[in-house]
């Protein structure tokens, strides 16, 4: 089992951009005609799933090298046991890889956004609309995280963006290593945006830095107004909270004033924008937010 993300079956990464949808979706792995599947052994200490992708980007350098740690210090000996002081963050390895992703992205002037929400809040719907409406204005590509299927990646591809699907199996979040490989697969152009649609879940994605520039939490009026107080850790880290499905406000019991007050408590620094991904209401605010953050491309 993978040691850092809990994905028992290993993450599977598929590039969908610019080529036909692979036939292996139903569980029957079949090589694509021009781009035979290649299984890449996990580097370092343990295997981290399977990459299915064209050869060209697998030959590039791995995005991260392993990090050297100081030698542990022996503190005392009691009986036969020795206590060894370690002082290391549990997720240090992920944090290191995330920093390397961040460096890689900055070098190329690419804006990466970590988009998180409960399942069904409308992340993919938002990204479909964003892809369609920003076509020709801003270059966007998407890393799709789901436990199973490439359904969302196909939706994004149909909407016109380049996309990589990462299937985490039982893993309930993306980690920095999966994203590193996803980024290599996408190879996004300088001055573009990469939105990472995390696995739908408000718990673990909050713990795993992916190397993104900003965290966006999407909430919807149909899931109840209590989420910021129930998942304060997730909301506290948000740079932007998008409240989606506002077209349904007349039909649901959702006290928006209370929501805003609760959100202030959980996430005092987050900006709140109200949108409807299906009607497009308020969506320009999201585009403006993105536009302000996109770096100028390197030539």
């Amino acid at each position: 089992m993978c040691g850092s993300c809990g994905c028992g079956s290993g993450a599977v990464i598929t590039l969908l951009a610019d080529r036909p949808v692979p036939a292996w979706l139903g569980g029957h792995a079949q090589p694509m005609p021009d781009h035979p599947h290649r299984h890449v052994p996990g580097h370092g200490h343990h295997s981290h799933g399977t990459v299915r992708a064209p050869d060209e980007f697998l030959d590039q350098d791995e995005p991260h090298a392993h990090h050297d740690h100081d030698h542990p210090r022996v503190l005392q000996s009691a009986d036969s046991d020795r206590t060894i002081e370690i002082q290391q963050k549990v997720l240090a390895k992920n944090d290191d890889l995330a920093e390397q992703n961040r460096g890689w992205l900055r070098e190329r002037a690419i804006l990466a956004i970590n988009l998180m929400s409960s399942p069904g809040s409308g992340k993919t719907t938002l990204l479909e609309r964003t892809s369609r409406e920003l076509a020709g204005r801003m270059a966007i590509s998407v890393i799709e995280g789901d436990q199973e299927t490439a359904l969302d990646a196909r939706r994004i591809q149909a909407a016109g963006s380049r996309v990589v699907q990462i299937n985490t199996g039982v893993g309930c979040h993306l980690d920095a290593e999966m994203v590193a490989r996803g980024l290599r697969g996408l190879d996004p152009p300088s001055g573009s945006i990469v939105v990472i649609e995390n696995v739908g879940n408000l718990v673990c994605p909050a713990l795993f830095d992916l190397g993104e520039e900003a965290k966006v939490v999407l909430a919807s009026v149909t899931e109840g107004a209590d989420k910021p107080l129930k998942y304060p850790h997730m909301f506290r880290q948000a740079d932007l909270v998008l409240l989606n499905k506002t077209d349904l406000l007349p039909y649901v019991d959702f006290n928006i004033k209370q929501y805003m007050a609760d959100l202030r408590m959980a996430a005092p620094d987050a900006l709140l924008l109200q949108i409807s991904a299906t009607t497009g209401d308020g969506i320009e605010g999201w585009y403006d937010w993105l536009r302000r953050r996109v770096p100028a491309p390197h030539d």
Binding site: R82, E85, I86, V90, N94
Partner: protein
Amino acid sequence: MAEPGTKASDAVHELAITEGLVDAVTQRLPGARVTCVRLEIGALSGVVADSVRFCFDLVTEGTDLEGAALEITEPAAVCHCRVCGQEFEPDGPIALCPCGSAEVTVLAGQDLKITSVQVA
């Protein structure tokens, strides 16, 4: 795996953390027979100590940490209020100043770290 009264769905989320813990220790001390791991889970770390305890035996099975004890300390968070200027320890997962303000900066209590291990 789920015992009555244990929320398996919560524990599943902490599984990844517990695996990260085992991974970190075995990489740091390859081959050592670990008898105890001491972990610090800050009050604002977003991780539930009980769920880590729940996962620990399961995850350590067959590793160098099998049978090891797990000692968890949960240091309180420390926050600074940007409205009234005081430092305070929030008493829940939401960092609210006693003055009523939520405009706070978290100074400590977000860490999730291994402090030491005991080896045989």
